[in-house]
Amino acid sequence: MFHALVAVKQVPDTTNIRIDPDTGNLVREGVPAIMNPYDAHALAEAVRWKRQLGGKVTVVSMGPPSFISTLREAVELGADRGVLLTDRKFAGADTLATSYVLAETIKAIHEQDPIHLVFFGKQAIDGDTAQVGPGVAVRMGLPIVTYAVKIREVNLEEGRAVIERKTERWTEVVETSLPVLLTCEKEIAEIPFAPLPDLIRSLRYDPEMWTLEGPCPFALDQIGVKGSPTIVYKMGTPPLPQPGEKINARETGVEEAVKFALDKAAKAGIVQVILGGAR
């Protein structure tokens, strides 16, 4: 039976974010939280294939108990099962430690119920690292398709899939074996309106809470701060640039203001750039 797993992260909405000045970590309390948008689109694609092939979608997330709301949202969008990895000792993880916990968890779920497709968003909008997906693929020994924009074909019998990925240069049509891990662009799927039964189910849904107590074993030296080779050494505000000159066209007239700007550009040696342009 078709089984897709989607890793989702809860991220702070808007740019209205605070930093704890002592630890340098993100303060999540009091900031509106949403499902990372790339993850939401990845989930929509997983659900689309479930509706086509039958089967189920499992969602996994790592974070504090407040992440339950994001797993409920996943159920609303069509996920069947939610697992929240939550333990104080998971906290402070960098991308390496995060990929360890997720990989061990996905392996455990795979043993219970074999997985064909593992979905990630291409990156999380709070960290923008795009490192966890590739890290999990390496740890699980899975092929990876990053920047996925379309799944053309999933063939469970032959154990292969055909996926389009978009790079800076072109779009690649990739054939891989199953299971495969994808990191998805938003184009992968539109987020549909939730059918009423999913909506009702999500309201009362309680995800499974996995901790260090079980059911999946974790090596203590691989998780949280201990399992993270990188540390935040210092935080600072960006250096202030030297502001240039400003002219108000409403006072001088537009012609004068433009002349002023082009004069400055000429003095800075930019005139050849301006004159060199196509005619």
Binding site: I144, T237, P241, N248
Partner: protein
Amino acid sequence: MTTRRFWVFIEQEEGKVHPVSWELLGVARMLASQVAAEAAAAGDVVAVEGVLLGDNVAHIAQEALYYGADRVYLFDDPVFAYYRNCPYYQTLATVSRKYSPEVFLIGATTLGRDLAGAVATSLHTGLTADCTGLEMGEVKGSVQRLLLATRPAFGGNIMATILCRSERPQMSSVRPRVFPMPERNPNAQGEIVREEVEATEESAMACVLEFIHSKGESVNIEYADVIVSGGRGLGTPDGLKLLQELADELGGVVGASRPLIDSGWISYAHQVGQSGRTVRPKLYIAAGISGALQHKVGMQNSDFIIAINSDPKAPIFDVADVGIVGDLYQVIPELLKQIRALKEATA
């Protein structure tokens, strides 16, 4: 005596090198020079080295020497004819274990981002993404200088400096155009070391059936000399036509800030900023862009910046060399007129 190696992944596709590779050789040379005194005192040697994978790419290895590599490790084999995650990351992890580099830099391109996380995980080491500042700095408790990797965090509001104390190599990804292009020295000498290729077609786990080259939509904003960018202040998608006219006149391309991409007026390939591309053109014109930090971090290294905004308090003016407070729909037509007149006068 040990060799402290500063490594750069030389990215190429279809035999064409990505210029970020040369920018990173420049960075690696700078980092190497920062530990030169310390290394000399300890009797160590410092080396800037490139790692290159591809099929028939020896000419690129030679070119890497001209851009500052002391040595290039070359994996030349049909299995690397085009990029795939598995054979690439496994080869880089293996060669890293063989030579134990101290620092390993990879361009934060789509290829580099696909690769860097896999290599770092395989080597069980730290990786800092999208660094905008790199230096070898003294850190309390460490005998040798460590790589201090600074990156914008949380929308560019904060600069975070990350370090990796004990695992090696210290890895960073760096976006194109964050650092300047070093001088090419065609007299530079160096060594090309051909490495044995272990990767096989069977181990690749994936194959590309087809490459689809998109038509029209091929804007190379990162390496454009002139960029004319628009933001929310355009008011209507039609405003982009005016920007295009100015960009055409200057031989440049059109850029945009995030709100225009979010509202679907223009494609992601045009986005300048932390969640888009980093650029450093000779001339950057920002029209109707307020100047959110996330935009500024992507364009503030431009040689010359002209900002046009109707709000005199717009933060974009803080990074502009010259700012025009006014209506862009009056200012840009006037700019076009005066530029055309300048061209007539010098023709």
